[in-house]
């Protein structure tokens, strides 16, 4: 038996070697080959990515790009291994919070002086701010090209809005938080809640919305960053809490849900409105039952309509052997026309101003006009450049906000914990 087993093992090992692929296929002759690690995952988005790569490959026989599809859940493990091992993709897709850490370790190419003026000028400074980081030696660099952003809008059941007789807000005249509160009250009746707040991961959502009242949650003074929770930071938290526990216009059972989880209840008329990211429109459009009418309402207004945002990005590793060609490819991939295709595929907002005026993403169909108009109020998320934010978020802010929203602790207690325990965390990153 042992002999048979050994023979079988050798035969299979030989077979595996034969099917091995072996190496990256890069050769010193022939065209330059670039690996592009993409995280697109929606069907339309993957199709758009592949189509743009194909167009590039046709037009540039000397620089051929291989499209490699990765996944959001594991990309950072994959990239760190690649950076440390020195075998990197030439261009990779990620988001700006991840870039901050990579930039400080010297993994990324500074694109500041390498991008064409047409691309630089087409993307507003607020978006460039989301990819501008310290390179670890005190110099600021641009470590990616921002191309897709997300704003928080409200997706609503049109029939219920009409029946309640509430004013339908427009980008020019959005609801204030007070109007939103009043509308939620009118919509709460006959077993229907005015709103569902899916807050399984509450931190980024609360911090981004807090900017409506000027809440930043962090302040930097003398080179040191500390957590602050004052009246500006408390404003949005208090309003959500009131809807849940005072006005009872928000369903408390939706609190523990992930972003897409309330959709069945929304379609069944259990909730009239969902404050969610613009990308959720895709699932609403795909999953809504026949005849279900829904609308996208613009972001709420506090003292301003500002919201914090991060960006999806394309970057070039410092170890890429074809940096110049990689930058050329990115410049093509993210031109205005292509950004409009990518934004449409992912149901997100392009950073390109040219793309933002593309008819395909400014039509009223599926709320594109409202969604695209909301991009003008996006500013860099205040947490983006805070060292230790991830730990503060997971160890302190998430449990504290969940306790507060579940009415287990008061707002003052929550604020105290966020500051005291949060500063202990941040302290370690600033020694």
């Amino acid at each position: 038996m042992g002999k048979k087993l050994a023979l079988a093992a050798v035969a299979i090992a030989v077979l595996a070697t034969g099917c091995g692929g072996g190496g990256t296929g890069k050769s010193s002759d022939g065209p330059v080959k670039l690996d592009f690690l993409s995280l697109a995952w929606q069907k339309e988005s993957v199709e758009a990515n592949k189509a743009i790569v194909e167009e590039w490959n046709k037009a540039n026989p000397e620089i051929q790009v291989t499209y490699v599809q990765g996944s959001w859940d594991n990309v950072n493990d994959q990239l760190v291994t690649s950076f440390e091992g020195g075998d990197v993709p030439d261009v990779f897709h990620n988001d700006s919070p991840a870039l901050a850490g990579f930039a400080s370790k010297g993994y990324l190419l500074d694109l500041k002086d390498k991008l064409p003026a047409s691309l630089r000028d087409d993307i507003p400074q607020a978006a460039w701010d989301t990819v501008t980081f310290d390179d670890g030696s005190g110099n600021e660099g641009v470590f990616g090209v921002p191309f897709l952003q997300e704003s928080q809008v409200i997706i609503a059941n049109k029939k219920l809005l009409d029946e309640a007789g509430v004013r339908i807000p427009t980008p020019a005249e959005p609801w204030t938080w007070n109007e939103f509160g009043e509308a939620s009250k009118k919509l709460t009746k006959d077993g229907t809640y005015g709103v569902a707040w899916p807050m399984k991961s509450p931190v980024n959502k609360v911090l981004n919305l807090a900017l409506n009242f000027g809440g930043t949650f962090f302040e930097t003074s003398g080179g040191k960053t500390a957590v602050k929770v004052g009246p500006e930071e408390k404003a949005v938290l208090q309003r959500i809490h009131d809807q849940l526990h005072k006005d009872k216009t928000a369903d408390p059972s939706a609190l523990g849900m992930g972003t897409a989880d309330p959709l069945p209840g929304f379609f069944a008329g259990k909730y009239a409105m969902l404050p969610v990211g613009v990308y959720l429109r895709q699932q609403v459009a795909e999953q809504a039952p026949d005849g279900f009418e829904w609308v996208t309402l613009p972001p709420l207004k506090g003292t301003t309509s500002n919201q914090g945002a991060v960006s999806q990005t394309l970057s070039v590793p410092a170890d890429s052997k074809h940096q110049e060609q990689a930058v050329e490819f990115i410049s093509f991939f993210l031109n205005g026309k292509n950004q409009a295709r990518l934004a449409k595929g992912d149901w997100l907002l392009p950073t390109s101003q040219e793309a933002a005026s593309d008819p395909s993403i400014t039509s009223p169909e599926n709320g594109w006009d409202v969604a695209t108009a909301s991009a003008k109020d996006l500013v860099v998320a205040p947490f983006l450049k805070v060292n230790g934010y991830d730990e503060w978020k997971s160890k302190v802010a998430t449990p504290v906000l969940q306790e507060f929203l579940a009415n287990k602790i008061s707002l003052d207690e929550a604020a105290g914990k966020l500051v005291e325990e949060g500063n202990q965390v941040l302290e370690r990153y600033q020694r």
Partner: protein
């Protein structure tokens, strides 16, 4: 009456075990609208194969499945080939070295994989094994080997030493005794170990993620994850269809060898 309650309990247990598979099958046949229904049904109201068309149309599931099969079969056979003689030695020979070896095998299971992933990647790169199925087989064998060794030495110990001594009395040398007496008795244990190694390799994700770079060498777990997005959002229909398809080879493998596996587990459970 007692028998009926036993069967009822067995049926409940079966339903419990089969629930994920049945739910996956049901989901794979539903339209997006039905998946978002507040009252989910076991039997789809309007069954559709669109999820299967999407899953197989968008991703090279057949190619990835074939590569996974090659890697899993190669890994499991190589693991057992290497582990079997070592297990025999560990089970039959006494001394300090044996205790150290067994201790080391256990210690090797304590390290979290994530800690060693970067050094491992660098070693693989030096050996030019990145981006090849051969490299992945080598990694899978390395990481399955300790547990396989531990399993097999239990099976070897369950074969009475007296049987080998009887063979020796009849004039058989050690190798002859192993081949003619021990090996047949070990077959169920070998099958159980093969199965464990196969499943470990078939499902393995993290090492495949860092070792395999090109789309045309990627295995099934790397392909399935492409139906998921950030923060746990996923394309449930195509994911269910692809996952169900990915489960079928394992089920077939189990079905073929379950009889031997059952006797194998019993053989390892009682020391002779």
């Amino acid at each position: 009456m007692r028998r009926i309650s036993q069967y009822a309990a067995l049926l409940l247990y079966l339903v419990f075990l089969a629930f994920p598979l049945i739910w996956m099958l049901s989901t794979s046949l539903k339209t997006p609208q039905e998946m978002a229904s507040l009252n989910p049904a076991w039997i789809p109201r309007e069954p559709t194969l669109a999820n299967y068309a999407d899953a197989f149309g968008e991703q090279d599931l057949v190619g990835a499945g074939l590569r996974s099969l090659i890697v899993a079969v190669a890994s499991s056979f190589l693991t057992v080939t290497v582990a079997l003689p070592a297990a025999y030695a560990l089970a039959r020979y006494r001394g300090v070295l044996k205790r150290i070896a067994l201790g080391w095998v256990l210690v090797s299971q304590v390290f979290p994989f994530i800690l060693i992933i970067i050094p491992l990647f660098m070693v693989m790169r030096e050996l030019d094994l990145v981006n090849s199925l051969t490299g992945l087989v080598a990694v899978h064998v390395t990481f399955t080997l300790p547990f396989a060794l531990w399993m097999l030495q239990g099976y070897v110990r369950s074969v009475p030493r007296e049987l080998e001594e009887a063979a020796a009395v009849d004039g058989a040398g050690r190798m002859r005794a192993i081949a003619a007496v021990v090996a047949p008795l070990l077959a169920p244990g070998v099958v159980a170990t093969l199965l464990f190694s196969f499943i470990s390799s078939w499902n393995e994700f993290l090492f495949a993620l860092v070792v395999l770079k090109d789309p045309d060498v990627m295995t099934l777990p790397l392909t399935l994850v492409r139906f998921t997005g950030p923060e746990g959002v996923a394309r449930l229909g195509p994911l269910a269809a692809a996952s169900l398809a990915a489960t079928i080879p394992s089920l077939i493998f189990f079905a073929i060898i379950q009889r031997r596996l059952r006797s194998g587990l019993m053989a390892g459970a009682v020391k002779g």
